[in-house]
Symmetry: C2
Subunit: 176 residues, 2 copies
């Protein structure tokens, strides 16, 4: 139970990658973290990319970075939608500026780009966003998962185990 007392926001929107969302949420809960599912609006059930569902607990504009030790964005098509909400990108940027851990896997780098936190960082994710990460000033790395500063990166679905290991370790050891 390495994350007892830690508070983590996990974002949700339509088309989230089912396993990147659910495995991460359950992994954080296994370690005792208090996970809050944050969406553009509260209490909405969103369909995942492959058929599972998940429900937002709070709206992004009703919480602050101070409320959390870490923020995590799963991949799928959800990041394309999440990045359009200033409340979402503002929350991610504020968490980053406060030195909190930011977890980004697969297409989640899109939210990192729009939150303007990726410049100068090593980064990975879906090949589909490689050019966008590079154009935003990140250095593309083809690796399953790693931590670079405050950001924990994961590549694709198959890399979820590595992403979760890095993420749990980062949040457990984070100096907040």
């Amino acid at each position: 139970m390495r994350l007892q007392g830690k508070k983590v926001a996990v974002f949700i929107e339509e088309g989230f990658e089912d396993l990147e969302f659910w495995v991460t949420v359950m992994r954080l809960r296994e370690e005792g973290a208090a996970v809050t599912i944050v969406g553009p609006v509260a209490d909405r059930t969103y369909p995942g990319k492959h058929g599972l569902t998940g429900k937002s607990q709070v709206a992004a504009d009703k919480v602050r970075a101070d409320d959390f030790d870490a923020v995590v964005v799963p991949g799928g098509w959800a990041p394309d939608k999440l990045r359009r909400y200033p409340a979402v990108t503002g929350l991610v940027r504020a968490a980053y500026e406060q030195g909190k851990i930011v977890g980004l896997i697969c297409h989640a780098g899109l939210v990192g780009i729009s939150a303007r936190i990726v410049r100068g960082h090593r980064a990975t994710g879906s090949l589909g966003i490689k050019d966008d990460l590079v154009n935003a000033g990140a250095e593309w790395v083809d690796a399953p998962a790693f931590r670079d500063g405050q950001i924990v990166w994961g590549r694709v679905v198959e890399d979820i185990p590595d992403f979760c290991r890095e993420l749990v370790q980062a949040i457990a050891g984070a100096q907040i």
Copy 2:
């Protein structure tokens, strides 16, 4: 990486509970375990209960309990099918008789019943199989997850984090 060097069989069949299967598989891989997906036949892609898929790597009649440190049966409708294969129940029973860890969540108790390993054990799972577990000689316990002897029990999907914590701990500490 608490399961480095450990070999775990996870069973699959049509209608497996998507998260009980995938979260458990990824959790075991995170700890470095070598996970083998075992089905009635090899190389078949099975649909989960809610839309995800998973592929068997080997057929149950082509592996032996000696090949594994633990066997895990996820829930969903898959256990109703898996219990009909003597190669599956035989593998579970042999693993049990060899003192290996057996993980059973949700409807997976059905496979435990047909493998004749539940008598005298505390047990949990889906409420839908409570009577069958009791009739098979188990003591029903309404708890998220626990270990009783060699068997690690999980109740339902929401209890996956607790089930995984107990399962990893049991396999890591198992005297084989």
